[in-house]
């Protein structure tokens, strides 16, 4: 991870940093929060929310930032604009809070992403369910969450494959509705497996 040039000692500086930091920083502190803390159910959905709460004690702002679902965004610039809007409107309503020093600074960092193939290649629903249990959490995150930035779609690799290659649009839609903020990433994996295995056993009993 790279250490960025921007750092914020208060909310005004956070706003400035959100405007000027590279896209990779926005990506790191939002999309990457979930895999980095994938084992905690109660984690804030992004680092900006956590810092606003923990270091600035601005829980109302933190709640608004935490309410952002990264899956609603298909580009980093769209996400950046929303983050800027949230902080800007909060400071407009509470101008005296902008310069109040945070307990600790926020350091903008940036991710280095390398995408690599794995050995898991599947051709049917049974193999898919089996592979889902064995791939890393990072693979789940990449195909299920990060992918939206690549596809520019509010969907995910799994749902698209189920819909286009296995012609299972209902199952695809079911997966796409899974709440990623309501459990750990392992919980998300279990949810996907449960839904896929449910479809598998339904097929068997029908067939």
């Amino acid at each position: 991870m790279m250490i960025g040039r921007e750092r914020a000692n208060n909310l005004t500086e956070l706003l400035a940093g959100l405007r000027s930091c590279p896209d990779d920083s926005i990506f790191q502190h939002t999309f990457r929060t979930l895999p980095e803390y994938h084992f905690i159910r109660q984690v804030f959905s992004n680092d900006f929310a956590y810092w606003s709460s923990d270091e600035c004690r601005e829980t109302a702002l933190a709640e608004r930032l935490a309410g952002l679902d990264v899956r609603s965004f298909t580009s980093v610039s769209e996400l950046r604009e929303t983050l800027v809007d949230v902080v800007e409107s909060y400071l407009r309503r509470n101008p005296s809070l902008g310069d109040r020093p945070a307990r600790k600074p926020f350091y903008f960092c940036a991710a280095n992403t390398v995408v690599m193939p794995t050995d898991f290649i599947v051709a049917n629903l049974g193999e898919f369910a089996d592979a889902l249990k064995r791939v890393t959490i990072h693979s789940i995150h990449y195909h299920f969450i990060e992918v939206r930035l690549r596809l520019k779609l509010r969907s995910n690799d799994f749902s698209i494959w189920l819909e286009e290659d296995l012609e299972m649009p209902k199952l695809a839609a079911q997966l796409n509705r899974i709440d990623i903020y309501n459990s750990t990433l392992d919980g998300v994996r279990e949810n996907i497996v449960r839904i896929v295995e449910g479809a598998l056993s339904g097929r068997k009993s029908n067939g």
Binding site: D54, K104, C109, M116
Partner: protein, 447 residues
């Protein structure tokens, strides 16, 4: 064995064959169990192979390392630091270098040489870079430059990536030639508040590197080269962290007179005021009013550090005659015993007042232990308050959190689980190998 015995006796502050002079009810400075007396200095551990980590991190992550290394096959690297033994950097390099080499990135490790005068200067630099007072004399400057020059004369830098660790060998960068490899400075210390004279001497050297690596964003300086974040790490297969048979854990507890049927609160650290061992005893006394428990304070530094022995005396004074306070001044080769003590603990405390990264916290979290620690240095990076442990700012806060966790074992268990996962994701040796491979790829433009 004589040397061991001598060291043990020195460490114990007495002769091993003699019974402790302290009254039976007094805190034990050193329990002379047969187990420890028979424990020789362990031979250097055989470095683990990448596949040995698979049961811990999973096949997927092992494959990930192999994939990242594949494009670097045949590339070479050199790491340079100032000591081959002792200290966290040497310990880390001992494990890191064989793993990188096994993955196909042949990595050589060289240690600079220097006289006592050089190491006196660099020790002064170290303290000054941490913000301490220092008089930077022209003689110190000359000694630093001359020793670097002598090392440059005997060393070659023909590798694809050259990594210089910490300030001591920093001026080896003068050996950089047009078209030669990429140079990276790995800084293991906190540069947030350096002595201005020392920093203005070192900064021009840093600017000649291609990149710098820091252990925390808050330790970094704003410099015109790319800066990367590498957290320090622990090796899950080292003696201090590997899984232990419970029979051994029980034996260590028996040797030290620790009762595993009652809660055990432990702080592992040097007898150093910045680790606040006296504050830990005070916190324990507050806890003890409500919950029956024992306190184990185990560490070294009371033998080789004059201040350490003073701090140990302060601890003993505040501990008084409580037989449930067990103070252990352990020799440095007791990694297995430290491991066992951590595993036997109900709660681990690291009530530091100032800290680097705090690898003892990493060790505790890795063992799944609910951990209560000071909100300083690198500790908050590891302890996400109330999620992977508890952060505290006072004796009273420490006592409250220990008490709370002792009486809420389900929360304690969850914190321990979360803490272990956090370490697994971010602070293991294998994560560090991944970071180095990524760094090499970036430096060499391997996409």
């Amino acid at each position: 064995m004589d040397k061991i015995r001598e060291a043990m006796e020195k460490s114990a502050g007495g002769v091993l064959d003699e019974a402790p002079a302290a009254p039976a009810a007094a805190p034990r400075v050193y329990r002379r169990g047969a187990h420890l007396i028979d424990t020789p200095v362990p031979p250097p551990a055989v470095a683990p192979k990448i596949d040995d980590y698979e049961p811990i991190i999973g096949r997927g992550q092992v494959e990930e390392l192999r994939f990242l290394a594949k494009a670097l096959s045949g590339k070479t690297a050199k790491m340079v630091n100032s000591t081959a033994v002792g200290g966290g950097v040497a310990e880390m390099l001992n494990r890191l270098i064989p793993l990188l080499t096994e993955l196909g990135v042949y990595t050589q490790w060289e240690v600079i040489t220097g006289g006592n005068d050089f190491f006196e200067v660099t020790k002064g630099f170290h303290n000054a870079l941490h913000g301490g007072d220092y008089e930077f004399t022209p003689a110190a400057r000359e000694i630093f430059l001359q020793t670097n020059e002598q090392n440059r004369a005997r060393m070659k830098f023909e590798e694809d990536v050259i990594v210089i660790h910490d300030p001591q060998p920093m001026n080896l960068i003068e050996s950089r030639r047009e078209g030669s490899g990429r140079w990276v400075w790995r800084c293991h210390i906190d540069l947030s508040n350096p002595h201005p004279d020392v920093w203005s001497f070192l900064e021009p050297m840093l600017e000649k590197y291609d990149a710098a690596i820091f252990s925390s964003p808050s330790f970094a300086r704003q410099v015109p080269i790319p800066e990367f974040l590498f957290y320090p790490c622990i090796d899950p297969l080292s003696e201090k962290n590997k899984e232990l048979d419970d029979i051994f854990v029980q034996k260590v507890c028996d040797d030290f007179g620790i009762d595993r049927s009652r809660p055990i609160v432990t702080q592992i650290s040097r007898f150093d005021r910045l680790k606040d061992p006296v504050g830990v005893v005070e916190a324990y006394k507050l806890v003890k009013k409500y919950v029956d428990c024992q306190l184990v304070l185990a560490g070294g530094g009371a033998t080789d550090d004059p201040e350490g022995s003073v701090v140990l005396q302060e601890v003993m004074a505040v501990a008084g005659n409580d037989p449930d306070i067990i103070v252990l001044n352990l020799p440095p080769w007791c990694a297995l015993e430290i491991n066992a003590l951590q595993r036997a603990s109900t709660i681990i405390v690291q009530k530091s007042l100032k800290e680097g990264f705090g690898l003892t916290v990493t060790e505790a979290l890795w063992k799944g232990k609910p951990t209560v620690a000071g909100d300083v240095g690198g500790i908050p990076t590891q302890i996400i308050n109330t999620l992977t442990g508890m952060l505290v700012h006072s004796v009273e806060g420490c006592a409250y959190q220990v008490r709370y966790l002792l009486t809420h074992p389900e929360l304690a268990l969850q914190l321990g689980k979360n803490g272990r996962e956090h370490v697994k994701e971010n602070f293991l040796m294998t994560t560090n190998v991944r970071r180095w491979l990524l760094m090499y790829r970036i430096m060499l433009g391997v996409v």
